[in-house]
């Protein structure tokens, strides 16, 4: 063992170059796993935020309508309706809550400040289907809904942009031409993959009107229906004007347990199919997305694993090559040791431990390097990375395995040399 360290030290450059194969192999394993894990965790978190018990039905513009925008003026009526929400309520007894949502892009005023916002007309149990939390005051109540109260709950983004230092509770916010009393504050909606996509679509079509959204203002659905109606006007291009009539943008159905998600999705699908001739809706099942993401993750892991395996194989072959050279270089030493009483297994142990020393040293350096790469990726690439204990353990195990697999043959060769011939070797 002592001699092993000595001889590795004696051939510093050669040992380092050899170990580089392992260093890069191990560090690439760790870095790739960290990046992969980081990516999949964010994806999963985003999906989980949508709620794994939720089934989200969204209004989408039917494709034939999009083509028909050439006409000068047209009224388009599409999307989810209050009737749909009613039908859902009647045909899905397992639903814990059903949340119909109406979104309107608007501007909110407070004193002389103005910000673009999204009005979300919803129901008191909205919070059960959403990751947002109540921070201050109260959320909407059934009474608000029944009496079509002019009240609103605003989110953190709006507090920041509109109120700055003022306490918003009890203040009035002006949206369109009406004033709403602020009764509560909720956390901002965390951006999700799905909502990002949606935002993008929205900004594409209504950029001029909305601009960058400061946040959401939650208002009772009944109030929204009353104040804003169902019509919205869109100016497309320079020629056409288009009036759309959409009752609800979204209906979220939350079921009581995971096993009900897919059957409920099927019921919703048949229901919608029957009443919507136009293809003007989309069903999103976060649970399914989650499962899909897991499948993708598995494939990703296999691909990364193969790349890592190949790089370690190359590293291992390098080590084997160098150990074979070392063995033939030290033939005479082997002969001397054999003459002085070393058994074959002593020689095997000597060379194997030397190889293992090399690979473990390489593995340790690889782990250090492998942990720094994700740090830089996170810092400069703004990508989340997660180094798991398993990946460290795995790479340590792998470097040991590489050492044994690729060290065994050279060690075996050394042990089986004829001692007399080895002693004669120059």
């Amino acid at each position: 063992m002592k001699l092993g360290i000595k001889s590795l030290w004696l051939h510093r450059l050669r040992s380092t170059l050899t170990a580089l194969g392992i260093i890069f192999g191990v560090s690439s394993v760790i870095a790739m796993l960290a990046i992969g894990e980081g990516a999949s965790r964010t994806a999963m978190e985003q999906i989980a935020r949508l709620g794994s018990l939720n089934i989200i039905v969204k209004t989408v513009q039917p494709p034939e309508d999009q083509q028909a925008t050439g006409q000068q003026q047209s009224l388009q009526e599409y999307g989810l309706t209050y009737k749909d929400a009613e039908r859902f309520r009647n045909s899905i007894p397992d639903a814990e809550v059903i949340v119909p949502i109406r979104r309107v892009a608007q501007q909110a005023w407070y004193r002389n400040r103005k910000v673009p916002i999204e009005v979300i007309g919803t129901v008191p149990w909205h919070l059960e289907t959403s990751p947002i939390r109540l921070i201050l005051g109260r959320f909407l109540t059934s009474a608000d809904l029944d009496y079509k109260q002019d009240i609103c709950v605003i989110d953190g983004g709006i507090v920041e942009r509109l109120f700055a230092l003022d306490d918003p509770i009890g203040q009035y916010v002006k949206i369109a031409s009406d004033y709403y009393t602020v009764v509560g504050i909720v956390s901002s909606q965390p951006s999700t993959a799905a909502s990002n996509q949606q935002e993008k679509q929205e900004t594409d079509s209504s950029k001029a009107k909305a601009g960058a959204n400061a946040g959401n203002i939650y208002i009772p659905l009944t109030t929204v229906k009353n104040r804003f109606g169902e019509m919205s006007m869109q100016i497309s291009g320079s020629t056409g004007r288009k009036i759309e009539k959409v009752e609800l943008q979204e209906i979220i159905v939350k079921v009581t347990n995971v096993d009900l998600v897919l059957p409920t999705r099927d019921i919703l699908a048949t229901l919608l199919e029957r009443f919507h001739k136009k293809n003007d809706y989309q069903i999103i099942v976060p649970l399914e997305l989650l499962q899909q993401a897991k499948r993708t993750q598995r494939i990703f892991s296999i691909v990364l694993g193969s790349i890592a395996a190949i790089s370690l194989l190359v590293g291992g072959i390098g080590i084997m090559n160098i150990m074979l050279a070392t063995v033939s270089e030290r033939t005479r030493e082997i002969g001397i040791r054999r003459a002085l009483g070393a058994r074959k297994k002593d020689i095997i142990f000597q060379f194997l431990s030397e190889t293992l020393l090399l690979t473990f040293a390489g593995g340790a350096l690889g782990i250090v390097l492998g942990c720094t790469i994700p740090f830089f990726v996170t810092h400069f690439g703004k990508m989340p990375t997660v180094i798991t204990g398993t990946s460290l353990l795995l790479s340590f195990g792998i470097s040991g395995a590489v050492g044994i697999i690729f060290g065994l043959y050279p060690a075996y060769r050394a042990a089986n040399m004829d001692p007399i011939e080895s002693l004669r070797h120059e």
Binding site: R332, R338, A339, G341, R343, K344
Partner: protein, 241 residues
């Protein structure tokens, strides 16, 4: 160690530690069989100092390798310390080499990366001595061969004669039954050669059993007993004095 299956009759007679019984060694070179040693009978007793002479290619080194269990006879029997060595496996032969045989080579054969103490320790390492025990004994042996003050030096920092003394110390490490030297002075000037011979004489006086191969009549005269090999046979055997 396992007891020998049968003892050679000579062991009962006196203090024989090594017995050859019609020992032969052949090398197969293609279809041709090269007979290097032919029916060698030899008995060596404890405390013997034997010089092996003979022209080049007569089989001296081959004989010594077989005695040292580095090589196996083609036929015949070889008993070392009462044990039939010709039947043993590689692992046991290694153990016997480490335990009962001390080698001194013409070209010293020290390991250049190790210092003097570490070189002397090698045979003890393979016999499972503790680091502490072996380094104490190595120091003792280094002093015995007159190199007690050079123990941290590398072999390359020593003269040839000094290196050979280290090799002798190493050969003595496990207090072997027999010390084998193949032309131990072959690579040395006459002065260093004399020192080495004096050291070997000294070992003999202390009761070590020695076998030395040499081409030099003067060296052979140091031994009590000489054999002369010719074409793989003992051509002549006599006692000095």
């Amino acid at each position: 160690m396992a007891q020998p299956p049968d003892k050679h009759p000579d062991f009962t007679a006196d203090g024989a530690i090594l017995v050859f019984d019609k020992l032969c060694k052949n090398y197969q070179l293609g279809a041709f069989e090269l007979k290097v040693l032919q029916e060698i009978d030899l008995v060596i007793r404890k405390g013997d100092y034997l010089a092996v002479m003979g022209p080049s290619g007569s089989g001296k080194s081959t004989l010594l390798n077989i005695i040292g269990c580095l090589d196996r006879p083609t036929s015949g029997k070889y008993f070392l310390g009462g044990q039939d060595v010709s039947l043993l496996e590689d692992n046991d032969l290694s153990a016997i080499r480490g335990r009962h045989v001390g080698f001194v080579f013409q070209s010293f054969n020290l390991i250049s990366q190790l210092n003097i103490i570490e070189n002397i320790e090698i045979p003890m390492f393979y016999q499972g001595f503790s680091e502490h025990q072996s380094s104490a004994r190595a120091q003792e042996l280094a002093e015995l061969v007159g190199l007690g003050d050079r123990t941290r030096h590398r072999p390359s920092e020593l003269s040839g004669g000094q290196q050979q003394r280290v090799a002798i110390a190493r050969a003595l490490a496990n207090d072997p039954l027999i010390v084998l030297a193949d032309e131990p002075t072959g690579n040395l000037d006459s002065q260093s050669g004399k020192e080495i011979l004096a050291l070997l004489d000294n070992l003999c006086e202390r009761g070590k059993t020695l076998i030395v191969i040499t081409h030099d009549e003067n060296i052979a005269h140091h031994a009590q007993r000489q054999i002369r090999l010719l074409d793989g046979r003992i051509e002549k055997e006599w006692y000095n004095r």
